[in-house]
């Protein structure tokens, strides 16, 4: 089994279990408050780590290139309440054009 399929299988099973956790396992009880606050912070933490990696990550180095301008343009678009897809398209367009020009 290739790496990609292992990822698909493990993440799929884990997510199905997370979604079923409340209705099937936990029922009317509540999550312990400490678990609750950990779980609530995981999503923003992982998302920001992904933003940093996708914007500045290189081959074991910090690499500043056209992506930074693309993501900067997306930040501006998001500040003006652009739709996610629009912000993505702007980031890709600015980055691709800069790469063409350099």
């Amino acid at each position: 089994m290739s790496g990609v399929w292992i990822v698909v299988a493990v993440v799929g099973v884990a997510t199905i279990a997370f979604k079923a956790a409340g209705p099937v396992v936990i029922g009317r009880r509540e999550l312990p408050p400490r678990v609750q606050s950990l779980v609530e912070l995981l999503a923003p933490v992982m998302l920001i780590a992904l933003v940093v990696t996708q914007t500045l990550g290189g081959d074991q180095e910090i690499e500043i290139d056209a992506r930074v301008a693309g993501v900067g343009a997306a930040v501006v678009a998001l500040a003006f309440r652009a739709h996610i897809i629009v912000a993505m398209a702007i980031a890709a367009l600015v980055t691709a054009l800069l790469r063409l020009a350099v």
């Binding site: 997370f18 209705p23 779980v39 923003p44 912000a87 691709a96």
Partner: protein, 221 residues
């Protein structure tokens, strides 16, 4: 839950409630299919992942970590950490699912950010809205992923197209709603610092997984 009205909502009301939001899973699913195929994740894997994981952010995370040269373990951990929130979400609607365990297991898979938000619109969570809208989002998500993979292969080099920056913009846009809360902002800032410090020294994928430690800030009083 307070008093139920005599004629409560039905599944078809959930379907109807989902329709105005349809463009979002369609565009999102298309772009997931395109990115997954263009980065070499593979069309079949993308469609199967949409049908089983059915949670956009984690699916994009898995594709992006692998594309950046991260290991299988790093991709799995990044996606699983992102989806751990569904544990908390599923607990909030645990009591509205009727029937036996198997039925609840199947129907709980209709839980996704959008269906959950729609189902709670009227003050208390409503099962028909959750399941009805979840079904619509699920169908659109899987179908548009499949459609996207047909386009991805013909696009050429994903980085020449700036798809790496598109990923970054996506994750940022998804993070914005969380950042309204102070504690989430602090944890996110710490995660950014951990990632920046580790990027030059650790292998690809490791900085992201290590940054998850920032959620320990949640243990503070």
């Amino acid at each position: 839950m307070a008093t139920q009205p005599a004629a409560g909502p039905r599944i078809r009301d959930g379907v109807r409630a989902a329709l105005p939001l349809a463009p979002s899973p369609i565009l999102f699913g298309l772009s997931y299919g395109v990115l997954a195929d263009a980065t070499g994740f593979g069309s079949a894997a993308a469609v199967v992942m949409s049908a089983t994981t059915f949670a956009g952010a984690a699916q994009f995370a898995a594709v992006s970590v692998l594309d950046a040269g991260g290991t299988v373990v790093a991709a799995i951990l990044a996606a699983v950490f992102l989806n751990a929130r569904y544990m908390a979400i599923s607990v909030t609607v645990a009591s509205i699912f009727p029937g036996g365990k198997l039925r609840r297991l199947v129907e709980s898979q209709s839980i996704v950010d959008e269906s959950w938000a729609l189902s709670g619109r009227r003050g208390s969570f409503e099962w028909p809205i959750l399941v009805g809208s979840g079904l619509v989002f699920y169908g659109l998500w899987v179908a548009s992923t499949a459609a996207g993979t047909l386009v991805g292969g013909v696009l050429g080099d994903p980085n020449a197209l700036g798809l790496d920056a598109a990923f970054a913009a996506l994750f940022l846009a998804l993070a914005v709603p969380y950042l309204r809360e102070r504690r989430a902002r602090e944890a996110a800032a710490l995660a950014a610092v951990i990632t920046l410090v580790l990027l030059p020294v650790a292998p690809a994928g490791v900085p992201i997984v290590a940054a998850s430690a920032a959620c320990l800030l949640g243990l503070r009083r």
